[in-house]
């Protein structure tokens, strides 16, 4: 028996080694500056393409943007006399140099082989750095990096706010201010609240919307001019009447209103946060494609529409890449199952466990429903959002409830789960401790690698606004 166990252990050893090396390094090839040559732009583009395709190997995958990459390679191409030299440098996200390499040659015929050699050198050095540097060993490494502060070990850690007046349904973060404090925005059904979070939550300003307007989504995007736009998706009388706010001084200032769009700022593939929009139709609650949105005054322009898979709406989807750089779409369906779709938007995996769960909803008048269900309104529930970290982790909230029956929902605890795509399924990597109350929303601050978890500590009553609390947990 002992021999059998030893044999099995020996057999398992190579498997664990393979797991440790299984996640390739994601590299983005930036510009290769060419000097002393004719057709400079053409050479630069050619060299960049050559290097990118030669870098793509078992251990390295070349991605399409710096935001998705673990390392960024840039370089120079110089000709002096009859000699050329290509010098490259690879840096991590913090602009720390990981490795340098160069190749040189004499004629144009030697250029392509030289780029191949350069790619080999860079790959070898980058993989060494990848293994050596823990910061790059996140996706699929199999290591339990996120344990001490986040996993449900029973140890209460992180930052915890005091009781905040108002049962907020939504949370989003804004800018980090020069004093190190962070802008935090929360939304109740009819109220937008602006806090600054440092040692404590400091209420800065709040605005109340008319009782006929219900906030169903709260999102922030930093504009190119550095201003923060706060997109408040509002439903009024069953129609979208969304608003854009900005912080001016210490006040919230309405910039645009009555916008007929659902808004969401989201980091697809864990990349930079972009604003997306979708419309409402006459028959469909979510109509048409989800598209990138840009604001100019009160005008919203849409571009780069994304086709949604089944159950895909602006609020239910996100995208991620596997280790080979293949893109996938994940959606949380109305029943709470997490579904992964391939590039052709065909379902390839579905969770056995339910995720999501939200008590936030909006209603649309539906006369035909009155005779059938007895309710004049159709209820459309929002759900916990799926977020993708720059490291490729898929974050999703999950609420459990003792009373979830039809449209009557009352959740009692929640948690955020971190999953990663292991090539065939989404596997849980970590989860936060369960909250003591309904987790209304969560926000992943990828600039600080922190999870902001909003929970309802007291539901609103007939004459009270209820109360919330915010906890912040570090994700290593």
């Amino acid at each position: 028996m002992k021999k059998l166990i030893i044999m099995l252990a020996l057999l398992m050893l190579p498997l664990t080694a393979v797991t440790a090396l299984a996640a390739p390094l994601r590299v983005f090839v930036a510009d290769i500056n060419a000097t002393g040559v004719q057709n400079r732009d053409g050479i630069q583009m050619t060299l960049r393409t050559l290097l990118a395709s030669r870098l793509n190997s078992d251990g390295v995958v070349v991605v399409g943007s710096a935001a998705e990459a673990d390392a960024v390679v840039s370089g120079t191409y110089v000709t002096i006399g009859k000699m050329f030299s290509i010098d490259a440098v690879a840096q991590d996200k913090a602009a720390k140099t990981l490795t340098r390499a160069f190749v040189q040659g004499g004629t144009e015929d030697e250029l392509i082989p030289a780029v191949g050699k350069l790619a080999e050198k860079l790959s070898a050095e980058l993989i060494k750095a990848y293994i050596a540097n823990n910061n790059l060993a996140k996706p699929g490494s199999g290591s339990d990096l996120i344990k001490s502060q986040v996993q449900g070990s029973g140890v209460a850690v992180g930052w915890q706010s005091k009781r905040l007046t108002g049962a907020a349904n939504l949370i989003s973060c804004g800018l980090t201010l020069p004093d190190g404090s962070r802008e935090v925005f929360m939304a109740e059904e009819h109220r937008l609240v602006y806090y600054r979070q440092a040692g404590d939550m400091q209420l800065v300003d709040e605005v109340e919307l008319p009782s006929t307007e219900k906030i169903i989504s709260l999102d922030t995007v930093t504009e190119t001019d550095g201003h923060l736009d706060i997109y408040v998706t509002v439903v009024r009388a069953g129609e979208l009447a969304s608003q854009v706010w900005q912080v001016s001084g210490n006040k919230l200032k309405l910039i645009a209103g009555k916008l007929p769009y659902y808004f969401r700022s989201v980091s697809l593939f864990g990349g930079p946060k972009k604003l997306y929009a979708q419309t409402m139709g006459r028959g469909d609650d979510f109509y048409g494609d989800v598209a990138e949105a840009a604001r100019s005054g009160s005008a919203i322009t849409l571009k780069n529409p994304l086709k949604m898979p089944r159950y895909g709406t602006i609020y239910s989807f996100n995208k991620f890449r596997d280790r080979d750089g293949k893109a996938f779409t994940t959606v949380i369906n109305p029943d709470g199952y997490l579904i992964v779709y391939d590039q052709e938007l065909k379902e390839i995996w579905r969770s056995n466990d339910k995720f999501g769960g939200s008590e936030l909803y909006f209603q649309k008048e539906d006369d035909s429903n009155l005779r059938i269900s007895g309710d004049k309104y159709r209820w459309i529930f929002m759900n916990q959002r799926i977020q993708v970290s720059p490291g490729g982790e898929i974050l999703v909230g999950k609420n459990d409830g003792f009373w979830v029956l039809g449209n009557a929902r009352s959740y009692k605890r929640g948690a955020v789960h971190g999953l990663f795509w292991n090539g065939s399924s989404l596997e849980e990597k970590w989860r936060t401790r369960e909250t003591q109350n309904y987790m209304a929303d969560y926000y992943f601050d990828n600039t600080r690698n922190e999870l902001l978890i909003l929970q309802t500590v007291q539901r609103p009553g007939i004459a009270t606004r209820g109360a919330s609390s915010l906890s912040i947990k570090k994700v290593e």
């Binding site: 139709g281 028959g283 449209n407």
Partner: protein, 443 residues
């Protein structure tokens, strides 16, 4: 092979088969409703009829309706929907087992002392699945159906098959219902005594703000050799602050009265316009009426059955029935027939509804007359004023109070002439009124 080995092999094979079959998790989904009305009125008594009285008689009673919907969901693509209804009048309704089916309580209800009655009714039982071959959605069984005419042809629960398929912004539907069978249980062939409804419906979302539709319905009746055709158009649009829906239909073919040809028209339009904290609602309805003259075509708008007609945008309680009503679901004229026996209707309605946090309210005014008075002296049904104010105790539980008052038109209000209900009275009917407290819980 001995018996033990055989058993072991069979057991192992069974176990293998069991683990080979993919696990199918059945989702249990429940929805439901409870609604109770406490009435003080001179118009209704909870039995389904509408009383026109001239003796200042007032009734007070309480009635309730509960609905339980259970959905057994095998997957996103396959579910069984069951929906049951329990109607009760407080104190019970004194009806015998032989009472007419049209009575709201043909076999009594559980409202009497000790509640010993079986009052459960079938509302829906149907299978709802997406066909893996065609990608179409199929519903088979007793299912809800809403017409494309805002309820004026028929919104009902019926036994049939509905197949729909979406192609981008286009949705096509074919539905078939057997709406009645007048033959006895052993009658053969049974289709000769059945009435069938066939529906072809097409909807196209032009953009996010405009949807247009076209449809063709026919009704085939083996018993009456009836062949009714109906073609129609409908649209829904959001124009500025207004959400507008409209429908129009033309009926031709055979009328219910054998030997007369049918030529009827109906049209309805409703608009909800954002204004202040709420909405202004306006609606207009026209359904052509039959002159009942021998030799002429029947120009009376036909419904699939008179008691399944609605016009919800009217928001009336007395001159047309309110879709929120339960057992007392009726209007002036004594039935839920919006056409008053084929006379048709012309009506205009307006109102305002809004909400202030947990308080909601509405107020409405409406006027209606029949399109053809036939033998009656006048066509006017009346003018109604009503108002409701309510409070949301919880997100799914509300309590509200309603008051409605109708000024009878000369079609019902005159004396010593033939009225729209066929009566000739020496003392005019009292104007009907209705007040109720409603408790409403849906989930």
């Amino acid at each position: 092979m001995n018996f033990k080995k055989t058993v072991a092999i069979v057991t192992a094979a069974g176990a293998l088969a069991a683990i080979s079959v993919p696990a199918m998790a059945l989702e249990n989904e429940f929805h439901g409703m409870y609604r109770a009305f406490a009435y003080l009125t001179n118009a209704t008594s909870g039995g389904g009829g509408f009383n026109l009285v001239n003796g200042s008689q007032t009734d007070k009673y309480i009635e309730q309706r509960a609905r339980i919907q259970y959905i057994a969901k095998a997957s996103d693509d396959l579910k069984l929907v069951t929906h049951f209804e329990l109607d009760t009048k407080f104190g019970g309704q004194n009806t015998s087992a032989g009472a007419a089916v049209s009575n709201k309580y043909p076999i009594g209800d559980g409202g009497a002392l000790d509640a010993d009655r079986i009052s459960i009714e079938t509302k829906n039982v149907y299978l709802d699945f997406n066909c893996p071959i065609t990608g179409s959605n199929v519903k088979v069984g007793v299912q809800p159906f809403n017409d494309a005419y805002q309820g004026t042809f028929g919104n009902f629960d019926g036994s049939g098959v509905a197949i729909s398929k979406k192609f981008n912004n286009f949705t096509g539907t074919y539905a078939y219902f057997t709406t009645a069978n007048t033959g006895s249980g052993t009658a053969f062939p049974s289709y000769k005594t059945a009435t069938d409804l066939n529906v072809l419906d097409a909807k196209f979302a032009v953009n996010k703000d405009i949807t247009v539709g076209a449809n063709y319905y026919n009704v085939l009746s083996g018993a009456d050799s009836l062949f009714l055709n109906m073609i129609g158009l409908n649209a829904a649009a959001k124009i500025g602050p207004a959400a507008i829906s409209a429908s129009a239909g033309y009926q031709f073919g055979d009328s219910v009265t054998v030997g007369r040809k049918l030529s009827a028209f109906g049209g309805a339009v409703a608009a909800k316009v954002d204004a202040g904290p709420g909405k202004v609602n306006v609606a207009a309805l026209y359904l052509s009426g039959d002159t009942a003259k021998a030799g002429s075509d029947n120009e009376g708008w036909q419904a699939i059955r008179s008691d399944v007609t609605y016009f919800t945008p009217a928001n009336m309680w007395l001159i047309t029935r309110n879709a929120a009503t339960i057992n007392s679901s009726t209007a002036i004229g004594g039935s839920s027939d919006i056409t008053r026996g084929g006379r048709g209707i012309i009506g205009v309605f307006a109102g305002y509804d809004g909400a202030m946090d947990k308080i909601f309210y509405n107020a409405n005014i409406g006027w209606a007359q029949v399109a053809e008075k036939q033998a009656a002296a006048d066509a006017a049904i009346g003018t109604e004023l009503n108002a409701t104010v309510g409070y949301k105790l919880y997100s799914s539980l509300s309590v509200s109070a309603t008051a409605a008052y109708a000024i009878l038109g000369d079609g019902y209000g005159k004396t010593n002439v033939v009225l729209l209900n066929g009566a000739n009275v020496a003392k005019s009917y009292d104007n009907p009124f209705l007040t109720n407290i409603q408790l409403n819980y849906t989930f």
